[in-house]
């Protein structure tokens, strides 16, 4: 079962990555060129997934959409980790009021809806992929801060931290040399879950027109465009929906699989 999660997750995520890479060098058709004559074609040999309301090949748009899903995932999760992990480790190591402060700010950011943040950012800077990434990134910081703090507390109770300190390792060096390597599995799990959330959030923001501009292919944008012709061409909504589900499920499975594979207690038991 554990193996299965890891493999299935890797396969699904691998599929998304492959699609994104492939779209860099090749797509069946131009993913942005409007072809009025080809509007709303059903699946055929020429267009395996059919065409959308603008006559654009859906498969081509889907492949290019994987790029933006991954980009948003990597950047927003990266941003959240770069800010959240040091804060969490600091809170876990220092305890006391530092920990209180970090955790209360985390709570506040966590309680603030990501969507509202995205609307605010879009209102000030205009909706773009960048504002979507920043909004998603900021709202994911608390998850990283909490996970890292919990992991750090666990590690700090271990004798090897005391032993390192007793040899003269300063607190900051201990954080880098002993705490981080021992909480990396928690961070990895959080990252894959965060990835899934980010892909979903980016789709939602694009759907609402708060993210990537309409012309650029995104899965969320494709869902939004499919709305106008949902009853005449329902398949149009199915494909991006499947792609999103595939990526989210993939990252979640990968996260679960990683957690089990990296947990030393489970590893020992094998």
């Amino acid at each position: 079962m554990r193996r299965f999660q890891l493999w299935a997750g890797t396969a699904l995520v691998g599929l998304v990555v492959l699609a994104a890479l492939l779209s860099l060098v090749w797509t069946p058709y131009d993913p942005v060129q409007v072809v009025p004559a080809d509007r709303l074609l059903g699946p055929s040999l020429a267009h395996p997934l059919g065409t959308d309301g603008f006559g654009i090949d859906i498969l081509s748009r889907l492949l290019v959409g994987a790029r933006s899903a991954l980009l948003v995932g990597v950047v927003s999760v990266g941003l959240a980790a770069v800010v959240g992990v040091p804060l969490g480790v600091l809170a876990g190591m220092r305890g006391g009021w530092v920990s209180e402060l970090v955790m209360r700010i985390s709570d506040i950011v966590f309680a603030f809806p990501a969507l509202l943040l995205a609307i605010l950012l879009a209102a000030v800077y205009g909706g773009s992929t960048a504002t979507a990434m920043v909004a998603i990134g900021i709202s994911t910081i608390p998850a990283f801060a909490r996970t890292s703090r919990a992991g750090t507390l666990e590690v700090m109770a271990e004798d090897y931290v005391l032993a390192a300190r007793a040899s003269g390792t300063s607190a900051p060096t201990t954080a880098i040399r002993h705490v981080l390597p021992n909480i990396v599995q928690f961070i990895g799990v959080q990252a894959s879950v965060g990835f899934a959330t980010a892909v979903l959030a980016e789709a939602a923001l694009s759907y609402l027109g708060l993210g990537t501009p309409r012309a650029v292919p995104t899965w969320g944008g494709m869902l939004r465009d499919s709305q106008d012709t949902l009853f005449t061409a329902p398949l149009q909504a199915l494909w991006p929906g499947l792609a999103i589900a595939c990526a989210v499920l993939g990252f979640n499975l990968l996260g679960d699989g990683l957690r089990d594979a990296l947990d030393p207690r489970l590893r020992e038991a094998k």
Partner: protein, 255 residues
């Protein structure tokens, strides 16, 4: 190095103090045993000396190492002293080594902290010090991860890590409690030999008076955070003044 502890008290939050008015003197090269049951405050005392208690611990009194007051020093100053002037060996060899790092690297890092830019010399030091603690295959051991070593081997690695910078004071917190009897005797002998060779002063903590007597000639007896009796161990064995000491001596006789 000489150590002078006066009126040392440690309290956590609003609870009754875990250590209260503890005081003792340790001359250069001398070894002092600290005996007491579980929860008597032995570990808290040793961590207080090292400045390694969590921030919420309230520590008062005086700890001076070769005349330098340690209480109140910041982490930066203490980090310079730890490892270099004083070090510590912990009770649980299973958990006192970082599972993500090869043991040779852990010893090398401990050395490099006080010998920056030592490069290849650090690697040499690792093998020398592993030799000294009785490994005949120092290179192989240094490339092992902690989980690949036995408890006794790990405790010897920890001893190597504690002595690699030749500190003048070493604190042993129940270094053999987690080991089986044969390995325990071996490690005790090794500790004794190492201390003799380096001339370091030592604080040797154990709940077992018989174990302490193999390394030290003088000991203090702790109970409930206080020192209830001190003197030469032979004296404690033969004429225990405090009923608690008597109980400890009887317990050791049974073990």
């Amino acid at each position: 190095m000489s150590l002078s502890v006066r009126d040392l008290s440690v309290a956590f939050g609003r609870r009754a103090p875990a250590v209260e008015s503890v005081g003792f003197e340790l001359a250069d090269g001398e070894r002092l045993g600290v005996i007491g049951e579980s929860g008597s405050g032995k570990s808290v005392t040793s961590l207080a000396l090292m400045g390694l208690l969590p921030e919420y611990a309230r520590v008062t009194g005086s700890v001076s190492l070769d005349g330098q007051e340690l209480l109140g020093l910041g982490d930066r100053e203490l980090s310079k002293l730890r490892g270099e002037k004083m070090s510590m060996v912990f009770q649980e060899p299973m958990t006192a080594l970082d599972p993500t790092m090869r043991v040779g690297r852990q010893i090398a890092e401990a050395y490099r902290l006080h010998h920056p830019r030592s490069g290849a010399a650090a690697r040499e030091q690792v093998e020398t010090v592993l030799d000294k603690v009785g490994f005949t295959d120092a290179r192989r051991v240094s490339l092992s991860y902690p989980h690949e070593l036995s408890g006794g081997q790990r405790q010897r690695v920890l001893l190597a890590m504690a002595v690699v910078n030749k500190p003048g004071l070493i604190i042993f917190d129940e270094p053999t409690t987690a080991l089986d009897v044969l390995v325990q005797a071996e490690v005790l002998q090794l500790i004794d030999a190492t201390l003799t060779a380096t001339g370091a002063s030592a604080l040797f903590i154990s709940h077992n008076i018989a174990v302490v007597s193999q390394v030290c000639t003088r000991a203090v007896v702790m109970r409930g955070g206080r020192i209830v009796e001190d003197g030469p161990i032979a004296e404690l064995f033969e004429h225990p003044k405090h009923p608690y000491t008597r109980a400890l001596v009887e317990a050791a006789a049974h073990e």
